[in-house]
Amino acid sequence: MTTTTTLSRMQLSQHLKRLESESIGILREVVAEFRNPVMLYSIGKDSGVMLHLALKAFYPSKPPFPLLHVDTTWKFRDMIRHRDEIAARYGVKLLVHTNPEGVARGINPITSGSQLHTQVMKTEALKQALDQWGFDAAFGGARRDEEKSRAKERIFSFRSAGHVWDPRNQRPELWSLYNTKISQGETIRVFPLSNWTELDIWQYTRAENIPVVPLYFAAPRPVVERDGQLIMRDDERLPLRAGESVQMRMVRFRSLGCYPLSAAIESTAATLDDIIAEMLAMRTSERSGRLIDSDEAASMEKKKRDGYF
């Protein structure tokens, strides 16, 4: 079903070329219309593709906006290393924000619970950062195929003052005639990868040789088995429950977030080709390893209404 030859740039399929062009058009539109845009950089595979597209969109200019990483202080160490490497390699400006109140209150994914942690360290932190720097447009790497409430969202997604999304009252979005007009205090979230699927992301990453965090590739890693999920013990902060032990297993991640909230899968996929082959055979969705998604029914929509990406 899959070919294992490495695609060179010239072989980028029509399908991927069309997606690439659409995304580039969206990126340029924001830069042409907004005063102070920012790109949310979450270090994962989607962010990698989005940044790569930005480097292409403005060539020979550099992307005229900074990257913003909202650091919950619970990201995998490999992710932080990758982030700093990428910023240095491409010479893009990287802003990092952590919610100081959350830190002061000692919020963490283990004792505070995933829901409160996400609310304070991700959603609130993001809103703080957007307000602090006065960004009027923010790029996010979300895709419509990820989740059913995301399948409903516009490419230019309007946020009223306070970063609120009103899914019942979205602006119509016809053709590619995006409405970029907002009033003081209002903002727009922009999703250049809206029409990409997970497979598109991996095939494009392979075709374009985009660097990704090593955690996507299988390697022996220290994990504990908890509630049927494999959680990597990235540092000493993850306490072991009674009867639990750390084992070295060949694992990798399909989706990366805070390490105690991202479940690994057992795998031997060590190359992009392996990942793609494995994905085509897989019978679970990429977000099944995201523990925060199953917090409550319709939880992604709720988080998004509160200002989550």
Binding site: H15, S21, G25, L174, N179, K181, S194, Q203, R283, S285
Partner: protein, 632 residues
């Protein structure tokens, strides 16, 4: 075609190998509860795109919100918003991605409720084909017709008439043929190139992906067979080259490129192109991309062009093939779908987005609206939410376009409310009303009334009179700001911009004061002739001079605004320290101190101090409305 021939569909996501297939973008539409979401859910389910964890969630959701008893409610796979699941309806469009061995698809599941028509139009605007569902029990309904009409307006050429819930009418061929005949009768006016009727059951999967064993009488394709083989060839690449400039790429002084996406046609280095608006020509020098220069770019490609000559090009301009240019006009006729609660009012100014250009525009006249049931034309003064009308529109400056039926990329526009910034209307241009370039050649034919028609408001002099420090300029500034926001053409004349130039030679003696006002009056008259609303703030202490200006223009074109602030208050404010100096005798002939002020006897507007400048400005605007100088 025998049944069972195509029961197996092998699934392979887009681009997973095999020959490249053209993506098909289609939507499902039709009336409330006809089964649109269920059909998409069925397509996803039967192409095995629903993964185990999603299936677990679906089973749980079906128990909680399902409309199908003990069975899976496939609509819940697409109705992703909480409100949708609770109410069992679709509110906004969902985009889903799936593919078969033969083709990749993007499908937009749109809502059937009339209230959410704009979301249906959102979904339809980028589609090449439409699956219009009909509940076999109910037949063709108003929403079926409305959606069909919108699909046709949006330029969708290929329609599948999915007669759904056929299981509920005993798989009756008679019923099917009856509905199809009924629909074809209505749809013949809509100019679709193909209408393919298919009897199916979204809920049980008959004729969706699996050929039904219940309808031996039906020999046509299943839905998926038809969609896989549908040839929609739009041929945008074969149309004339159009390139709306999105962003000027200027990394340093040596490089000036124009970034954008080719809307139609193709372009190569060496091609002659024209900046549609200005008519300036040049030659394409390079097609720049991050992956190296290209020898050709075609419709859909995002590239950066450089030109051989230094021509003036900015965002919003359209580069076009020199020997096949778009029309450039400031008045045209278009179909408009209205999408906000507040009705569309002819005369009101909206912001139009066409291509990469934003330009103020107004509907100059509403020719008629269309009854979606009968397609009859009905006379109308306004367009309400979800209504469709045929309008003449005028733009503040000429725009380049092709008629929408010729080119979907360059013939579409949206209208944006200037206050709320809501996306208020979607338009498809039918034809230009006159060439903007002709206006210049026929200059003599353009008179005040022609300009007034174009501007959408009447010209006037707003004459603010009152003591020094009374607040004339402050209020006039607010009025001008508001008028500007309403899209009116304005200009401000006051001591600051007149005394330093035109009237530099005049002092403050009575004779000079009279001459000052006379000159200002003459200039204001020219602005009125140009169609503008000109705001003049001058102390203008003498009744006679004010009357003189009044008489320079037509009746109703002079609005005297008396800013009636008592002298005590003005002295107290004394913003420029002038009263203090006048009282010390350092300024001679100062109005109110050693020179008289004759208060107006019949000013159109009298403003009192306690109003405050914002309220005072509102009074002025109200007066302008009363006098029909502005109508919005």
């Amino acid at each position: 075609m025998t049944s069972g021939a195509h029961t197996e569909v092998t699934v392979s996501p887009a681009g997973a190998g095999g020959p490249e297939k053209a993506l098909l973008r289609f939507l499902t539409c039709g009336s409330v509860d006809d089964g649109k979401s269920t059909l998409i859910g069925r397509l996803l389910y039967d192409t095995q795109l629903i993964l185990e964890d999603q299936l677990t969630v679906l089973e749980r959701d079906s128990r909680r919100h399902g409309t199908t008893g003990a069975e899976l409610d496939l609509a819940l796979l697409v109705d992703g918003l909480q409100a949708e699941r609770e109410q069992g309806i679709t509110i906004d469009v969902a985009y889903r991605y799936f593919s078969t061995a033969r083709r990749a698809f993007i499908v937009a599941d749109t809502p059937g409720h009339e209230q959410y028509t704009r979301n249906m139009a959102t979904g339809a605007s980028n589609c090449q084909a439409a699956v219009i569902l009909i509940d076999a029990r109910k037949g063709v309904l108003t929403q079926t017709r409305r959606h069909s009409y919108i699909c046709s307006l949006l330029g969708i050429k290929h329609v599948v008439l999915a007669v759904n819930k056929i299981d509920l009418v005993d798989f009756s061929g008679e019923r099917f043929h009856h509905i199809v005949a009924d629909y074809l009768g209505f749809a013949k006016a809509l100019e679709f190139s193909s209408i393919t009727p298919i009897p199916l059951s979204a809920r049980y999967g008959d004729n969706v992906i699996r050929r039904s064993g219940h309808m031996r009488w039906y020999e046509g394709p299943t839905l998926i067979e038809h969609l896989e083989s549908l040839d929609v060839g739009e041929g945008l690449e074969e149309k004339p080259f159009r390139f709306p400039v999105q962003w000027v790429n200027r990394p340093d002084l040596d490089f000036r490129g124009f970034s954008g996406t080719v809307a139609s046609g193709r372009v190569r280095p060496g091609d002659r192109v024209v900046v549609a608006g200005s008519g300036r020509e040049s030659t394409v020098a390079r097609i720049v991309t991050a992956d190296g220069d290209l020898s050709e770019a075609c419709a859909g490609d995002a590239v950066t062009l450089t030109l051989a000559d230094e021509v003036d090009v900015a965002r919003g301009d359209v580069l076009a093939q020199s020997d096949s240019r778009p029309e450039v006009v400031d008045q045209f006729a278009a179909q408009v779908l209205w999408m906000i609660e507040e009705p569309m009012l002819p005369g009101r100014s909206y912001l139009m987005r066409i291509g990469t250009r934003f330009v103020p525009a107004r509907v100059t006249s509403l020719k008629h609206k269309t009854d979606v049931n009968t397609l009859e034309h009905i006379a109308a003064k306004t367009l309400q939410l979800n209504e469709i009308g045929f309008c003449n529109l005028g733009t503040a400056s000429p725009v380049a376009f092709d008629a929408y039926p010729e080119n979907r990329e360059t013939g579409a526009f949206v209208l944006i409310d200037r206050f709320t910034h809501a996306t208020a209307g979607a338009g498809m241009i039918s034809f230009g009303l006159r060439r903007a370039t002709n206006i210049h050649r026929q200059a003599l034919l353009v008179d005040k009334s022609a300009r007034t028609r174009l501007n959408g408001h009447r010209p006037a002099i707003l004459w603010f009179t009152g003591l020094s420090g009374s607040g004339k300029s402050t209020i006039a500034n607010i009025v001008e700001r508001e008028l500007h926001a309403l899209g009116a053409h304005t200009y401000m004349l006051d001591g600051d911009n007149v005394r330093h130039g035109l009237n530099r030679d005049l002092g403050f003696t009575d004779v000079d004061r009279v001459e000052n006002i006379r000159r200002v009056g003459e200039v204001a008259k020219l602005f009125v002739d140009a169609g503008a609303i000109v705001l003049c703030s001058f102390i203008s202490p003498f009744r006679a001079e004010r009357r003189m200006v009044r008489e320079l223009v037509d009746a109703g074109e002079f609005v005297e605004v008396f800013v009636d602030t008592p002298i005590e208050e003005c002295k107290r404010r004394d913003p420029k320290g002038l009263y203090a100096r006048a009282l010390e005798g350092k300024i001679k002939n100062f109005t109110g101190i050693d020179s008289p002020y004759e208060a107006p006897e019949s000013a159109e507007v009298v403003l009192e101090t306690r109003d405050g400048p914002e309220r005072a400005a509102r009074h002025v605007l109200d007066a302008l409305r009363e006098q029909h100088i502005i109508t919005y």
